[in-house]
């Protein structure tokens, strides 16, 4: 255990790491590696996540002196990890992103939802209808199918449960943009879940 690290704030540890204290850097690694791994799995894959985690902390080490004490360390770290995940995916084969329109719920000319309440609700039942492994695979495929801008926002906001304001900081966009991207991602993922549960997308 690193002396005194357990009680220190993330930002205090970052300042000590920037001053060249290796034990402070390692304390930050130990504090955040689980979260970065989880994020990396969701942005890339379980196979690629270890590389993304290592790349993330290497970038943290190399650039820690540029960390500004006025931002939260976790926000800064999430930005590096998200970029590392993105770079990794760019290096891999990409599949074409699907367009939003086919995932929107259907409305009639008067703007009323067309599907019945049961059909609209079926996405909620996907976790009772599919077994765990099957659902894990399909849920991941639904996230992977999102356009990259929606995917980042959805993963950070809805899966990692950052606040909208924090996601805006991580992605360097305004909160309204985050809300728009997350909303569209939810519509698309929801449609996939409906389909997996045997309903219409």
């Amino acid at each position: 255990m690193v002396g005194g690290a357990a009680e220190s704030s993330d930002e205090a540890l970052a300042v000590r790491a920037a001053a060249g204290e290796d034990s402070a850097f390692e304390a930050l690694v130990l504090r955040f590696h689980h979260r970065v791994f989880r994020l990396a799995c969701r942005l890339t894959s379980e196979t690629d996540a270890p590389d993304v985690v290592q790349e993330t902390f290497w970038q943290v080490y190399r650039h820690i002196s540029s960390f500004r004490g006025d931002a939260r360390f976790s926000t800064w770290l999430y930005r590096i990890a998200t970029n590392a995940g993105l770079m990794h995916r760019r290096a891999c084969a990409r599949r074409p992103a699907e367009s939003l329109n086919q995932f929107l719920p259907r409305f009639n000319a008067a703007g009323r939802l067309e599907d019945t309440p049961d059909a609209l609700r079926i996405a909620c039942r996907v976790d009772e209808l599919l077994d765990r492994d099957e659902l894990a695979k399909k849920a991941k495929a639904a996230v992977d199918g999102l356009p990259v801008l929606y995917r980042e926002a959805f993963v950070l906001r809805d899966l990692e449960e950052l606040s909208t304001a924090d996601v805006a900081q991580v992605l360097g966009v305004d909160p309204a943009t985050v809300r728009q991207r997350v909303h569209r991602a939810r519509l698309m993922v929801r449609a996939h879940l409906s389909e997996f549960a045997g309903g219409r997308p």
Binding site: F57, P117, R132, R186
Partner: protein, 81 residues
């Protein structure tokens, strides 16, 4: 203000859930949803979607990754200095 129908309500749903709408728009949405079983069902599935995907994609880090990560980072630091 225009009357809320399902379609305009869906567009405003994220802002509604984040508490960003003015009280009159908020009230209009609630008035619509109260009488609309389709919207009620749609909202239930929209709200549940993040939770379902979050639970289904939660993967814990393998125990041996911590030591290999620290070792790799130490080696990289050693190579750089």
């Amino acid at each position: 203000m225009k009357e809320i129908v399902c379609m305009s309500g869906v567009e405003l749903l994220m802002d509604y859930l984040e508490g960003l709408l003015t009280p009159d728009v908020r009230t209009a949405i609630e008035a619509h949803v109260t009488g609309c079983r389709r919207c009620e069902a749609f909202i239930a599935s929209y709200v549940e979607t993040p939770r379902i995907v979050r639970d289904a994609t939660r993967i814990e880090m393998p125990a041996d990754l911590e030591s290999s990560l620290l070792a790799a980072l130490r080696a990289a630091r050693g190579a750089e200095s």
